[in-house]
């Protein structure tokens, strides 16, 4: 239980334990969808922004944020969703980018027409489909090692 006065830094620490249900190596903090945290009477308000309009993971993420904060003793937890400014992959942290690559998903790097293969590192890759296993990814194949892989689209 959180018996001392709540502070914003400890809320952020808790948010770093909440992971994306579709890409469990990324936390919601890595994804850059937490826009703000405010302390309110008896609790906390977390301001989040959706990645894609129809991302089905958003509801689950809200439930998980709620559970993490309630579990830490915050009585009143409010989640506010804002649309603007629209989420962009530029908000994914450098640490998040590295985690994606290690997980086998080519991270969204600007000025890179062909993502490097996350398996063998080769830059010789080809697009199979602009749409992949989730709204945020496209499907590619490495021309060297032949492995198909997901690419987190620049958005």
């Amino acid at each position: 239980m959180n018996t001392s006065a709540p502070d914003i830094a400890s809320v952020w620490t808790l948010l770093e334990t909440v992971v994306d249900p579709e890409i469990p190596v990324l936390t919601v903090a890595d994804l850059g969808i937490i826009r703000d945290v405010h302390l309110i009477e008896n609790g906390v308000e977390v301001v989040i922004t959706p990645t894609y309009s129809g991302c089905p993971a958003m509801n689950m993420i809200e439930v998980q944020i709620m559970a993490a904060l309630k579990g830490a003793g915050y009585q009143d937890v409010r989640i506010k969703t804002v649309l603007s400014p629209a989420w962009t992959t530029d908000w994914i942290t450098e640490e998040g980018m590295a985690k994606l690559e290690k997980f086998g998903i080519a991270p969204p790097r600007k000025n890179q027409e062909f993502p490097n293969c996350p398996q063998c590192g080769s830059p010789h890759t080809k697009l199979l489909s602009q749409f992949g296993s989730t709204a945020c990814k496209s499907l590619w194949q490495c021309q060297e090692c032949k492995e198909p892989f997901d690419h987190f689209k620049c958005h």
Partner: protein, 254 residues
Amino acid sequence: MNQTASPSLFQFVLYMADNCLVLGHRLGEWCGHGPVLEQDIAMTNISLDLIGQARLYYQYAAELEGKGRTEDDLAYLRSEREYTNALLVELPNGDFAHTIARQFLFDAWHLPFLKTLLASPDQGLRDIAGKAVKEATYHLKWSSEWVLRLGDGTEESQLRMQVALDEAWMYRLELLMPAPFEQRLIDAGVLAGPEEIREEWEQTIADTIREATLTTPDDPAVQTGGKTGVHTEHLGHMLADLQYMQRAYPGLEW
């Protein structure tokens, strides 16, 4: 401004929501039936984007109306005559070429139209468009590439793409013809007029048709009605499917 524009703004937001929901539902009907796995996934991804956009518009419409109706009430409990989507989006899937023709003609309008909404004085519209415009960019890329691939493909695929384009053609203009609620918003400066996007829209369509070695349909007929609630026979069947659970078990949650 919202004080005077409000009823029209509500109608317009609902119209955008209905376009997205109806087209999203149609694409969802392909789930498990796509010609190849990647395209099955593409269509359901686009469906998801559109249904996500529809939710944002319905939520905003519910807020503008301020009568306690929710996004679900607006989607599940309005009749066919209360839906104001353009006719194009309710057309049945047909074969893959028909789905592509419908999608391409919609996307060719949707993307430039969303760009004009980014400059609307209405904050709610700007916020939704800011998200949707990124998604619509992928959609147009996908649908125009398929017009090319089918048009400039085999004899069979070209024939089917041409037939599909010919059949969808008379529905394309409704999107550019302001309904009374849109005209009031254009007059109030909330929306841009159709002349703002007409050139880009015509160019996209003409360039794609030419590159796909297809023929621009010469059918001068223009079919409208959806924006005023007068639909083809197809929408009612679709809504019966979409709304069945809420109609049969009011308030059902899962």
